[in-house]
């Protein structure tokens, strides 16, 4: 991993407060994830990829936006690893990048449609108001 990626990995760990080494690779997070099919990298992969320092791949992946922030993976993990916090941290890293043009929180309401679950709306605001 390049120096830059190492820094990124450290940043993700710091922001999330997750200890990736606690993961026992059981896959329960990915077994429970309702957005699994929509995600290129799955919650358990976030844990192992952050561990390996492969942050750029994660930052470029759509997975960070298709995660619903439902926190089912956090709830079910038997080792209290909290994969969704890593996903959130990678998201934050992307949002904080200079010069990138992302949705602003006040642009969210016009995108909402009727069928969107409450939880998704709340997490959309959380995601984009960083």
């Amino acid at each position: 991993m390049t120096v830059n990626e190492k820094e990124l990995a450290e940043r993700v760990i710091r922001i999330s407060g997750v200890n990736t080494k606690k993961c026992m690779k059981c896959g329960k997070c990915s077994g429970t994830c309702p957005s699994f099919e929509e995600m290129e990298y799955h919650p358990h992969q976030f844990v192992s990829m952050v561990e390996k320092g492969q942050i750029k791949k994660l930052m470029e992946s759509k997975s960070i936006w298709t995660c619903l922030s439902c926190f089912a993976c956090i709830e079910r993990c038997p080792r209290s690893v909290e994969p969704a916090k890593l996903i959130e941290a990678v998201r934050v890293c992307v949002i904080r990048q200079q010069g990138e043009n992302h949705l602003k929180a006040n642009a969210v309401p016009e995108k909402l449609d009727e069928n969107m679950p409450q939880q998704a709306i709340v997490s959309a605001f959380r995601k984009y108001s960083k």
């Binding site: 026992m24 329960k28 997070c29 077994g31 429970t32 799955h42 038997p78 080792r79």
Partner: protein, 661 residues
């Protein structure tokens, strides 16, 4: 003034690696009373002990300090060494410069400084030591085994075969434990009842074994060799001496609402019941919760039909007091409660079952007479999902942090048996790891995969929900990196096990200790695995940690060997480091007796001569055979009247002074 020898051990590099042993020996050579101070590679070796014996004779030593490992390891060795050279064994002090010094320090200077201080403290204490003489106590040649599962039965049989009397106290109406509920047993797949029931019969027929079933231990006092135990024989409401076990009462009882514990609640039983056909003793019990007569006063059908007039609605609990030389805990385990795991839908779906329920569904004596039918509609399941590690290896607070050890093997057993009996059934097993160490164990698991075509999936299930009469199982297949969904007819949870909840209370009564998971702790994880840290209390079976039957039986026999070794002795040497009260200082306040965990303190009225004033006072008197030297009384006594021989307040203060100097 004492003539003291100091012997500093290197323990190879264990001590010498972080403590400059030579410097320690030199640093204390000029302490008051020290006439010889030396070091050696292994003080505990023959050559090391010889050095000590020679020095005792040559210098006419009155006491020795050995700076070495923990007194738990070699205090006894060095006491014997001293005794062989004519010294009182209690004129030996150990300075623990290994566990409490070299092993915890990295810096050699720091380690050395601390070792010198510890040596000085031991020397300061030794100056105040006096020769002590150990007394003796007799051994009651009878053992108590608490819990009548396979562990308790095996321990009892082995002790009884050696010629000693054994009582088994079992809280349920029959002996047998969980093994009686199992269908077949891995790795050989022999029928559990076929190999267990002969042992149950042996235990009940053995002239040296006395069974107290439907009984519980209420109180324990005394000490190794001389325990006194109160046993509550709960009222069965059936006179065991009259009952012939014909079972007419159990057939006629109109109350049919009680969950059948033996079948894990999968069906109901009568209010008067015998847990299973081969139960021992074959005497029914009335469950007063469900008995119509007990609730409403009407019914009494069982008493009417009983040809032997054995039913006794008035029967009361009975308390029996017995004496024992040794006690073995064999209280086993239970499955954990699954309330914290709602993702698996155990409470919502009848067809989500535990592995122990599956054992009953596969068993010929079970609720389905051995045909595998799913509980919701009594249909044959055609697709079955097993989930391993449910509640085990879980540090989130929902389950247990440890591996339950038996579930990988029994899941392979279940999967194999189902594929064997119902080849049209698809069987999937979700696993995190497959842990099958043990003789012929991994071969067994591989047979399930290779010969019986069981589908093992590396991953965990995230949720189980009911959908159109099927159970939708969603889990991950980590090797394929896929999330898979299986429509199953039956889901079996390999549920974590935990110690029987009664063990907490029992541990308090026995002054035995339990770990953070409530398993009883052994005296030494490697070298004393079947002894508890409390003398005379031994451990057998799953109450000490998860185990399968072969391991349980091996441990049960090991515990029996320890008990036999104890009961074979006519006398036990008592610890002379016991409490004694100074009759002039004692004001008879009773506080010491209140804290003594062994009941060693009594009060007597005695005439004392207090500086010429003669009067009768109430003073504490320690029974030296009962006192275990724990020292609780000495720190409680408000008048400073209680002291502990070998560890007097003056000795401890001398050590503290030496450390603080």
């Amino acid at each position: 003034m004492q003539k003291i020898g100091v012997f500093v051990c290197w323990c190879g590099s264990n001590i010498a690696g972080t403590v400059d042993v030579e410097r320690v020996a030199q640093a204390v050579a000029n302490e008051p009373g020290v006439v010889i101070s030396t070091d050696y590679q292994y003080m505990c070796s023959e050559a090391g002990q010889l050095k000590i014996r020679q020095a005792i004779k040559e210098y006419g030593l009155t006491g020795i300090v050995v700076c070495s490992c923990s007194p738990r390891m070699h205090e006894a060795t060095f006491r014997k060494t001293a005794q062989a050279a004519g010294l009182n064994p209690y004129m030996v002090e150990i300075a623990n410069i290994r566990e409490q010094c070299s092993w915890i320090h990295k810096d050699k200077d720091e380690g050395t400084e601390k070792a010198i201080i510890l040596a000085k403290a031991a020397i300061a204490k030794l100056h105040l030591n006096t020769p002590l003489k150990a007394g003796e106590s007799a051994v009651t040649k009878r053992a108590l085994v608490i819990g009548g599962g396979i562990a308790g039965i095996q321990t009892a049989l082995d002790i009884a075969d050696a010629g000693y009397e054994v009582d088994i106290v079992e809280k349920s109406p029959t002996i047998g434990g969980k093994m009686a509920q199992l269908d077949k047993t891995f790795p050989t797949l022999d029928c559990a009842a076929c190999i267990l029931t002969p042992k149950m019969v042996d235990a009940s027929a053995h002239e040296k074994i006395n069974l107290f079933t439907y009984s519980e231990v209420e109180g324990v006092s005394g000490f190794v060799g001389n325990f006194k135990v109160k046993i509550r024989k709960k009222a069965r409401h059936v006179k065991a001496d009259l009952c012939t076990g014909c079972g007419v009462c159990t057939e006629k009882c109109p109350s049919r609402k009680a969950p059948n514990e033996f079948n894990q609640g999968l069906n109901k039983r009568g209010a008067i019941y015998i847990p299973f056909a081969q139960a021992i003793p074959n005497v029914p019990v009335i469950d007063t919760e469900y008995c119509v007569k007990m609730k409403t006063g009407k019914c009494g059908l069982c008493a009417t039909v009983c040809p032997s007039k054995a039913i006794d609605f008035e029967q009361q609990d009975e308390i029996v007091e017995r004496e024992y030389g040794a006690i073995v805990a064999a209280t086993g385990y239970k499955l954990i409660n699954l309330d914290n795991f709602e993702e698996f839908g155990y409470a919502q779906n009848k067809d989500v079952i535990t592995s122990l329920e599956l054992e009953r569904l596969m068993n010929a004596a079970g609720p389905t007479k051995g045909t595998l039918l799913r509980p919701s509609d009594n249909e044959h399941p055609h697709e079955i999902v097993f989930i391993q590690c449910v509640g085990s290896r879980d540090v989130s607070g929902c389950g247990k942090p440890y591996c339950s050890k038996i579930c990988c093997m029994y899941t392979a057993k279940h999967a194999m048996m189902i594929r064997d009996k119902y080849p049209d059934t698809k069987v999937h097993v979700f696993y995190i790891d497959v842990r099958t160490p043990g003789k012929n164990f991994d071969e067994f698991y591989r047979r399930a995969v290779e010969e019986y075509g069981v589908d093992y999936i590396k991953g965990m299930v995230g949720k189980v929900v009911e959908k159109d009469g099927k159970l939708l199982v969603q889990g991950s297949d980590l090797i394929a990196n896929e999330q898979i969904k299986i429509e199953a007819d039956l889901v079996v949870l390999a549920t974590a096990i935990e110690p029987d909840p009664s063990v907490k209370n029992l541990a308090t009564m026995l002054t035995a200790s339990i770990d953070t998971n409530n398993f009883l702790t052994e005296a030494h994880a490697k070298l004393r695995p079947v002894e508890s840290p409390t003398a005379g209390v031994f451990l057998s079976g799953v109450c000490q940690g998860p185990k399968d039957v072969p391991e349980t039986v091996a441990q049960a026999s090991a515990a029996a060997a320890k008990v036999i070794g104890l009961l074979a002795k006519d006398k036990l040497t008592c610890n002379p480091c016991v409490a004694n009260s100074n009759e002039l200082l004692c004001n008879g306040c009773s506080q010491c007796a209140n804290v003594c965990p062994y009941g060693a303190i009594e009060y007597i009225n005695k005439e004392v001569n207090d500086h010429g004033k003669r009067e009768v006072r109430r003073i504490a008197l320690v029974n030296e055979a009962v006192c275990q030297g724990c020292g609780a009384c000495t720190v409680t006594c408000p008048s400073g009247a209680m002291d502990l021989k070998g560890f007097t307040t003056r000795q401890i203060m001398a050590e503290v002074d030496a450390i603080c100097k």
